[in-house]
Each structure stands twice: as structure tokens, then as C-alpha cells.
């Protein structure tokens, strides 16, 4: 029985699925057509390929347009819209909700691939068209298959972005799905869930599209490399791919750093980079792409150099993009078996895509003919083994066969030069730099992929166990346990390797441009980078002194040196060699940018200064190892010294989904002390002997201006203020660190940062109340227990509650307190000071017939209630319960404030690097046009 649902856009679901099916079919046709056209370029196969591609493009663009129509019409009957959109989201976020889920992510990725392919086609690629477009269409077909949403029994083939909520598997058979008017009847359909509030940020609008464009732009060089292998022409594609790969370098680099900026601005993990698997997995393809594009450059000037390495770098950059897509969605990364994206159910498909792309690439590396056929047969057999036998073992087998294929290709048909380039040539050092970057990528991948290796180690567990038992090797034992995990100490895990590598390859970017292709430069030329080297050494010394680097930080200082040298040398190159010809300066500009990024990252990270520290408590004195000096407790209205500022937590207010905590910052002025004033310092009292303005250290003033008070009188004790070098000066600025009220993910702090030209003051809330605490109707909050001895005191609101004295209640006092003669009673005499007149009162601890009679003392006008629940005579300690009324309560926050010096170099470097890489793209394009006149 067909139900006609009311007010539902049933047509849109059917139309959307039609478009996606069309795209899949078109892609398939295009792939077949183009593959056949490689051998017969003038045949009708080419026409089939082109038309198939057009149909595919129409299908994908149509589907994207349709989803946007659904988004802007707020059609919440669709699962994708309901999950990622709600009415409260502003237009720009509604726009971004498109890529809130995986389905949209795939579509966005395909959108950019299509756009780049269209640009490629418009440039009349000639004989490259068929093979490049064949791979493109193949990849696009595979990607569009992930959106088909077909079920074969329990096996899901793709996720359908046009799935309606009533059709979702978890809602199947629910009674409401049979109600034609369910949209009007069920209130849940009036509004969607909306994007996770953590993602509701303007970075969500620009970061994913940039990153996906970066990912998409690694495909073009990859397909060109395959085209080169296919047509056995190792030259043409390398020239054509240079511009595309530098475009990828520019966009992917910008996208990665945008992610860092997002993390820095909106998430509170205290920095812009955390070596998180998700971050690493976009950095690694970029590093490999940079290595690859430099090898392409070498091949432009010296064709036939390091051909295998060039193929590998260019191929791997795309394969690593796919690998990281797989890795971050697979849930393998979780230490536990908690998967992050399991619900999508397309993991096998993603794995097949990854293995398919890598398999194809290594097949092409083999010499054409029988070897490729044998290779394919082995791989297919192993792939079947993955499904029916041991997945880990068979996958490992596939990877080993791929590696062997690459090696075989290198040893047989790929061109190799016997001629060694001289040491001081540009190509040699570019190659070295590229390989060092690749090494850096390998190391990061290795650390990120440890959980994957654990899976591969599982089948060998017994073997390693036996090895451990026979040799006692610690390594064998760890491998047998197969629960390797990347270390949590970034210095040991990443920096120990990455810093020396970066020192080397950034140093190489400083002088390599001064060298020439093919021949050793003249002596004059050789000395050209010398002046930048000397200035870099001088500047490094200045840096090391200014930021007080220690001897153990030598690797960092070395890295700072190579960054500075690279910046100066590349700037000098533009002046000295290029004489200001900007057209040729792309490489230099990009190198300056990259060096600035690393310089900013190293300095801001190594010399970050946590200026918030707790003024109260002596934890640090008890045990130095356990001290925590990074968090500051701020009571509402109090003004405290924090680093170079005085800070005051002024108010909390709620704005939308945020609780904002306004903290005012004041300048610090030196404190003036007048003759006769008494101060407390480290528990001792001092009196001022002559009026003066305080120096930063008390010790410097002590001799001249202070005299020790050995036996202070009561007045002195009461008047003595803690010594402080400064006092709050004029108001400077206000920061509003926030706590985001997030029902889905738990409340999350969001930092607020004051930016200066040379540093950032970065603050976030470590603890704060987002709403008033619970209280009864009269405003009394839950009582707190305190053990109090004589002379102990407590802060209650803005007052101090002190236990002045203890006395036993004598027989003649008992009637005064309304006690019976048999009662035992101790009296605690309290005094409440501050905020109005001092109030003294007495609370009793009463025991009658071995029962404790509660005696509640209520000071309504002061908003305090006190009760003694117990008395321990041996320690003369009262177990006191104190209630506070909301009317006197003071709010407080625990805040952390960090100064990141020179962090702006990083953002500046990012912009410069992107510009430089784009300048290179433009220049490459110009050179290509000059060399090959545009065909009519």
C-alpha cells in the first residue's frame, strides 16, 4: 500500500536519487570511454568519455544544488538536513551545514575535483586528456558510489544524502512512519538538530572548502603521473603537473593552517597544533606534495632525474589523502574500540577505494605486459582473501606486493640516469630537501598509524612472543603485545625527530636557490648567500638572548637559525639575484613564508609563558613536583596581579549559547609606600622607614626602606597588608573568555585572545559556573563542612568568618542558653567581619543523653547560617557547617592565561607562503604558454 505523505517533498528525494544514479552511471560510462580512448584517441570512445563526464557533472552539481534548495527551504523531513541544520543557524552557517556530515564532505570533494577537471579540459590537454580523465572519472565514480545508499541485505553500499527520516533504518516500522500527516503531527520535525555547536563558527564556513580544494588538487598530479606511466612518456606529464601541484601546495597549506587557527581561536587545548591524528593526516600529504612538486621542478630543467622518486612522491600525496580520509573515519585511531564514524557503514567501501587507488598506482609502476597481469591476479586473490580469510594478513600481503611492484618498476622500465649531478648543484640539494621532507612525513605517518600497525601485528603476536621468550628482547615483547601507542610527550614523540629534520630542509631552502642546475657555480656566486648567513647568525644570537634559550634547547635554536637564514637569504635573493623581478620570485616568497610559519611556531611554543598563577595556598612549598602554578582563582570584583597586569573578574552574562566571563585588565603601576606603613611579607611584618616607590623585588628595598617588626602589636597585625610591588593602574582592555553551553558534547570552554603585534595574550576558563548554584526558596545554598580550630577563618562571600575562641558552657551559663543541667555543651565564639559592622555570635555544640542537639545560628541580615555538628576535644576542632545565602555569594572563575610570543609570524608566514606558491603557479603557467602556443 502506497502512502501519500502530506506536505513532504517526496519528489526531492526521488529526484536527488535520480541525479546521483545518473552521476554514477555517467561516471562509469566516462571511465569506460576514456580508458578505451587511450589507445584510440580519435575514436568514438573519446566522445563517450566526454559525454559521460558531462552527465556525471550535471548529476553531481544538480545534487549539490538540490541539497542547498532543501537546506534553504528547511526541509527537516530529510535526515541530512535534520541532523545538520536548525532554524537558529544564520545563513552563513546554514551554507556550511552542507558539509556538516560525511555525505556533504564527499560532495564537496567531488565538486572541487569536477571544477579542476573542467579547468583542465578547457586548457586543451591534447593527448593527456584520455588517460587523465579516465582516472578522474574512475575516482569520481568511486566517490559517487559512496552516495548511492543501496542495501544488499545487511551490506550497505554508500550513504544516501536524500534519505528521509522516516526511511532511516532506526525508524523503520515505527508507527508514526505510517501516518501521512506525520510532519505536522510530530513536533520534532518543526526544527532540526543543527550543527554541533562546537562547529558553529565562521571557520566552519571557510576551512572545510579550502581543505577539500587542497585534497582535490592532489588528484590532478596523481592522474597525470598515471597517465605518464600508461603512455610510457615520463616527460610531458611532469611539465604539465608542476602548476597543479604548486596550486595544491598553496591551497592545502592554507587549509591546514586555517585548521590550526580555528583550533587556536575557538577550542581550548591551548595552542594551534596538537599533533592530533586529524591534523597530522592533512599535514602528511602536504609534506609529500611539496617534496613531489620540487622533484617535478628538477625534472623540468634536468629531465630524467630521480624519476621513480618523482612518481612515488606525486602518487603518494594523493594516496595519503585517501589514507587519511580512511584513517580518521575508521575509528581505528581510538585506543579503545569506540569508533568515531561507524554509523556511516561505508568503511569497507572506503578501504576498497584506498586499496584500489594504491593497487592501480603500483600496477602502473610495473613494466606493461605480463607482469601487470600477474600482479593484478595476485592482488585480486589477496583481496578475496581479505573478505574470506584473514583481513590483516591479506591486506599486509597486498601492501608488500605493491612495494615489490614499485621496486620492480624502478629496476626495469623506469628511466634512471647513470650520470651523477655534481655536489653543489640546485637539483642535488632540491632532491635532498625533498627527501628530508618525505622522511618527516614518514615519521609523522608512522606515529599516527601505530594503531593500524597494531592490527597488522596481531597475526604475528605468537611469533614475537616466542621470540621474546627465547631472546628476552624487550622489543619483541612490545610487538607481541601489539598495543603500541604514540607517546603523549610531544617533545619525545615528534619534536625530537621533526626539529632536526626541519632544521636541515629549511636550511637547504636558504642556499639552494643560489645554486644552478647542472653545474657548480662560480666562486662569486658561491659567496652570495654568505651575507645572509652572517646576518642570520647575528640575529639568532639576538633571539637566543632575548628569549633566554637554554643550552638544552640547542636543537630549537638551530631550527630558529635555519628559519632566520632562510627568510633573509630568500629575501636577499630577490634583491641580489632577481633584482626585484617579482615574476620569478614565487619560490623565494614561498620559502620566506614557510620559514616564518616554522619560526613563529617554534618561538611561540617554546617560549610560551603561563602568567596566571595561584596566589593563594602553599602547594608549591609542600612538594615542588606537585605544584601547580598555572591556574588563577578570581573572585568576582577582586583585582589581582597576573603577570604584567592586574585583572578583575567583573561579571558573567549569557549571550546565546555562550556564558561569557568578562575579565578587565589594568596596567601595573609601581606601588608607593609611606613612612610608617606596615606590610606582611612571607609571614613576617615589616614597617616602612622612609617613603619610596617599590622596586619589583622586596629584597632590593628591604635594606633601605623597611625594618623588621619582631613582635607586632594587634593594631599592626590587623593593618598589615601583603607587600606588593605594584598596584592596579589605568584600565587597558577586557577579555571575554567563554563557556559554550553544549548539550550534545558537554560544555566547552572557548578562549579569548588579546592580540598584540609581537605576542598574544590567550586566556581560557578552566572552571566557571554557567548558572547560579542551586538554592532553596529562601536562597540558601547547600551547606559546606569545615573543620575549624581556634583562630581559623573562612571566606564567606565578601566577609571573613573567624573562630575567635572556644569555651565550655558552665552550669550557671546553661539557663542563659536554654540548656538543661544534664547537657554537655561547648561554645564556639565566632566573629563575622567585612561588609558592614562586625558581628559576633556564639554557636553551641550540645550533647543531651549522648544525642547531639542541633543548634542553628542564623544571621539573616548577613546571609550566613552556622551549625556545629561535632567536636573533637583532642584536637579542639569543631566540625562546622556553614550555609551561604545567594544574596551574599560571590561568583568566581578559575582562569588560565598564556602569552604566546611572536605567534603572528606564523599567520603572516601562512599568507606569504600561500601567495608565493600561487605566484609560482602563475609563472609556471606563463612559461608553459610561451613554450606551447595555444592551439586554435
Amino acid at each position: 500500500m502506497e502512502i501519500t505523505y502530506l506536505n513532504e517533498w517526496t519528489w526531492a528525494a526521488s529526484f536527488g536519487r535520480l541525479l546521483l544514479a545518473l552521476a554514477f552511471a555517467g561516471g562509469l560510462a566516462s571511465t569506460i570511454g576514456y580508458v578505451a580512448a587511450v589507445a584510440r584517441p580519435k575514436s568514438n570512445w573519446m566522445t563517450l568519455g566526454r559525454w559521460g563526464f558531462k552527465v556525471h557533472a550535471v548529476g553531481i552539481f544538480g545534487a549539490i544544488g538540490l541539497i542547498y534548495l532543501l537546506i534553504f527551504s528547511h526541509r527537516y523531513e530529510f535526515q541530512y538536513i535534520w541532523k545538520h541544520l536548525n532554524d537558529a543557524m544564520p545563513t552563513k552557517l546554514a551554507f556550511a551545514s552542507f558539509w556538516g556530515g560525511q555525505e556533504g564532505g564527499f560532495l564537496l570533494w567531488m565538486f572541487w575535483i569536477l571544477l579542476l577537471a573542467i579547468v583542465f579540459l578547457r586548457r586543451l590537454p591534447g593527448k593527456l586528456e584520455a588517460p587523465v580523465m579516465a582516472i578522474h572519472s574512475g575516482v569520481l565514480t568511486a566517490l559517487s558510489s559512496m552516495l548511492l545508499g543501496l542495501y544488499f541485505g545487511d551490506f550497505q553500499f554508500g550513504m544516501d544524502p536524500f534519505l528521509m527520516l522516516r526511511e532511516a533504518p532506526e525508524n523503520m516500522g515505527m508507527p508514526w512512519t505510517f501516518n501521512p500527516d506525520y510532519l505536522a503531527l510530530i513536533p520534532q520535525f518543526a526544527d532540526g538538530q543543527g550543527l554541533n555547536p562546537l562547529l558553529q563558527n565562521y571557520w566552519m564556513v571557510i576551512h572545510p572548502p579550502t581543505l577539500f580544494l587542497g585534497f582535490a588538487s592532489t588528484l590532478m598530479p596523481f592522474t597525470m603521473a598515471i597517465a605518464g606511466l600508461w603512455m610510457r612518456d615520463h616527460k610531458t606529464w611532469m611539465r604539465a603537473a608542476i602548476g597543479w601541484s604548486f596550486f595544491g601546495v598553496a591551497i592545502l597549506g592554507a587549509g591546514i593552517l586555517m585548521g590550526g587557527a580555528w583550533a587556536y581561536e575557538a577550542l581550548s587545548f591551548g595552542g594551534f597544533w596538537a599533533w592530533d591524528p586529524v591534523e597530522n593526516s592533512s599535514l602528511v600529504p602536504w609534506l609529500v606534495l611539496v617534496a613531489g612538486s620540487h622533484l617535478l621542478l628538477i625534472n623540468r630543467s634536468k629531465p630524467g632525474t630521480a624519476v621513480t622518486a618523482t612518481y612515488l612522491m606525486v602518487g603518494l600525496s594523493f594516496l595519503l589523502v585517501v589514507y587519511s580520509t580512511f584513517l580518521t573515519k575508521s575509528g581505528i585511531l581510538g585506543d579503545t574500540s569506540v569508533h568515531s564514524f561507524v554509523d556511516s557503514g561505508i568503511l569497507p567501501q572506503l578501504l576498497a577505494f584506498l586499496m584500489g587507488c594504491s593497487g592501480l598506482f603500483s600496477a602502473m609502476l610495473l613494466p606493461p605486459g605480463n607482469e601487470r597481469k600477474i600482479y593484478c591476479a595476485i592482488q585480486v586473490a589477496l583481496a578475496i582473501g581479505v573478505v574470506v580469510l584473514n583481513p590483516a594478513l591479506c591486506l599486509l600481503g597486498m601492501l608488500v606486493v605493491m612495494a615489490l611492484a614499485g621496486l620492480r618498476g624502478h629496476l626495469t622500465h623506469l628511466p634512471r640516469t647513470d650520470q651523477e649531478s655534481p655536489l653543489w648543484t640546485r637539483e642535488f640539494w632540491m632532491f635532498v630537501g625533498g627527501m628530508l621532507m618525505f622522511a618527516s612525513a614518514v615519521h609523522i605517518t608512522f606515529q599516527t598509524s601505530l594503531p593500524v600497525f597494531n592490527h597488522f601485528l596481531t597475526p604475528f603476536s605468537g611469533l614475537f612472543q616466542a621470540l621474546y621468550e627465547s631472546t628476552g628482547s624487550n622489543l619483541a615483547r612490545k610487538l607481541a603485545a601489539h598495543n603500541l601507542a604514540p607517546g603523549t610527550d610531544f617533545d619525545a614523540t615528534y619534536h625530537a625527530i621533526q626539529v632536526p629534520l626541519a632544521f636541515l630542509f629549511i636550511g637547504i631552502t636558504a642556499f639552494t636557490q643560489y645554486l644552478r642546475y647542472g653545474k657548480t657555480p662560480s666562486k662569486k656566486r658561491f659567496l652570495q648567500p654568505l651575507r645572509s648567513l652572517i646576518s642570520a647568525v647575528v640575529l639568532t644570537f639576538a633571539f637566543a638572548l632575548a628569549f633566554d634559550f637554554q643550552a638544552w634547547e640547542a636543537p630549537r635554536v638551530a631550527l630558529i637559525f635555519s628559519c632566520l637564514w632562510s627568510v633573509i637569504a630568500n629575501a636577499d635573493y630577490i634583491v641580489q639575484v632577481l633584482k626585484g623581478k617579482w615574476d620569478h620570485a614565487g619560490a623565494s616568497v614561498a620559502h620566506i613564508g614557510f620559514a616564518l610559519v616554522i619560526l613563529g611556531a617554534v618561538v611561540s611554543n617554546a617560549k610560551k609563558d603561563v602568567i596566571s598563577s595561584n596566589q593563594f595556598g602553599d602547594l608549591a612549598m609542600l612538594n615542588e613536583a606537585l605544584s601547580n602554578e598555572e591556574d588563577l582563582l578570581l573572585l568576582e570584583g577582586d583585582t589581582l596581579a597576573m603577570g604584567p597586569y592586574y585583572v578583575c573578574y567583573r561579571e558573567r552574562r549569557q549571550e546565546g549559547i555562550h556564558a561569557k566571563f568578562s575579565v578587565d585588565y589594568f596596567e601595573t603601576l609601581p606601588e608607593d609606600y609611606a613612612q610608617g606603613e606596615v606590610v606582611a611579607k612571607d609571614g613576617f611584618l615589616f614597617q616602612c622607614t622612609s617613603s619610596h616607590t617599590a622596586l619589583p623585588n622586596f629584597e632590593d628595598d628591604m635594606e633601605e626602606h623597611w625594618t623588621f617588626v619582631p613582635i607586632p602589636n594587634d593594631r599592626q597585625k590587623q593593618e598589615a597588608q601583603p607587600w606588593s610591588a605594584g598596584r592596579p593602574g589605568p584600565y587597558l582592555f577586557t577579555l571575554d573568555p567563554k563557556i559554550q553551553l553544549n548539550e550534545q558534547m558537554g560544555n566547552a570552554p572557548e578562549p579569548d585572545t588579546k592580540r598584540f603585534w609581537n605576542k598574544d595574550l590567550y586566556t581560557h576558563i578552566k572552571w566557571g559556573r554557567v548558572s547560579d548554584p542551586e538554592a532553596d526558596e529562601e536562597g540558601w545554598m547547600d551547606g559546606r563542612k569545615h573543620d575549624m580550630m581556634r583562630r581559623d577563618s573562612l571566606m564567606i562571600g565578601k566577609c571573613v568568618l573567624a573562630l575567635d575562641s572556644i569555651s565550655a558552657v558552665t552550669m550557671d551559663q546553661k539557663p542563659l542558653f536554654g540548656l538543661l543541667d544534664k547537657d554537655l555543651s561547648v561554645a564556639a565564639h565566632f566573629r563575622l567581619t567585612g561588609q558592614g559592622p562586625d558581628t559576633s555570635f556564639t554557636a553551641l555544640y550540645i550533647v543531651r543523653d549522648s544525642l547531639v542537639i542541633p543548634d542553628m545560628v542564623t544571621l539573616d541580615n548577613r546571609g550566613v547560617k552556622v551549625r556545629i555538628d561535632g567536636f573533637r576535644p583532642a584536637e579542639a576542632t569543631f566540625e562546622t557547617v556553614v550555609w551561604e545565602n545567594l544574596s551574599i555569594r560571590r561568583d568566581f572563575i578559575v582562569m588560565q592565561a598564556t602569552v604566546f610570543p611572536q605567534i603572528n609570524l606564523l599567520w603572516l608566514g601562512c599568507i606569504i607562503m600561500t601567495l608565493g606558491a600561487l605566484m609560482s603557479v602563475r609563472q609556471t603557467r606563463r612559461l608553459q604558454r610561451k613554450r606551447t602556443p595555444v592551439q586554435p
Partner: protein
């Protein structure tokens, strides 16, 4: 042998060496039993938050003291003290690494690292439940 080859071999050697150092580095974690057997020595203990016990954090008493119970890899639960403000998302954490030592019969940690569900994690939106509640 050409210089390029020598360079590549050197690079591979250095890389392999550094990768194997990862295995030999003692990133292994111990269990409570060991830490309590050797008080005063710093250890890393990995485990999970035991949610049967409350997480106690009262900044008015101490800003930098969080008390909770942790279950180590042997399944043994111990109360621990963390000398830090209560980290956001502790209750949601999937696993915890504590760096600390036993002092006077209590495990006191100076540093803690958590593994939390990633922000990329999609929530399971259970419409069925929501509808049933209505």
C-alpha cells in the same frame, strides 16, 4: 655507488633508528600495584575514569585539586588526586594517563592526559527515542 644512493641509504638508516627508538622508549604504563609498591617514584598509569564514584572538584577549597577514582588496566580502582583544575571533559573521557607518584598512601598526579571523543564524532541522534517521549 653514487652520492644520491648513499644519501638515501643514510636517511633510511637514521629514520629506521629513530622509529625503533619509539619502541624502546619506555612509554609503557604501570598499574596501581607497582606505583604503591614504590612510593615516591614517578610513574605513568593508564586507565579509565570510574564513574561509580563522583568527581570531586571544589575550587573554593582548592583551585588545583581534583579527586576522582581511576580504574587501571588490571581493573583495580583507586582514588587519585590530580593537582590541576578539573579538566573539561573528564567525565566524557575514554581513557586517562596520569603522571604521578604515591605520597603518604595516596596517588598524587601532577599531570594528566585524556583521550576524549573527537569533535568530529557525530552524535547518535536518536529520533525514535525523542518521538516516543512525546
Amino acid at each position: 655507488m653514487s652520492r644520491t644512493n648513499i644519501f638515501v641509504i643514510l636517511l633510511v638508516a637514521i629514520l629506521m633508528g629513530s622509529l625503533f627508538s619509539v619502541f624502546s622508549q619506555n612509554s609503557e604504563s604501570v598499574v596501581f600495584e607497582r606505583a604503591f609498591a614504590e612510593p615516591g617514584v614517578e610513574f605513568k598509569i593508564s586507565g579509565t575514569l570510574n564513574t561509580d564514584h563522583p568527581v570531586l572538584y571544589d575550587p573554593e577549597v582548592s583551585v588545583t585539586e581534583t579527586r576522582f577514582h581511576m580504574r587501571d588496566k588490571d581493573g583495580v580502582t583507586h582514588p587519585v588526586i590530580l593537582r590541576e583544575a578539573k579538566p573539561t571533559g573528564l567525565e566524557q573521557s575514554e581513557s586517562i594517563d596520569l603522571y604521578g607518584q604515591v605520597v603518604d598512601g595516596e596517588f598524587i598526579a601532577g599531570e594528566m592526559l585524556m583521550k576524549c571523543p573527537s569533535k568530529y564524532n557525530e552524535q547518535s541522534h536518536d529520533l525514535a527515542e525523542a518521538v516516543e517521549l512525546n
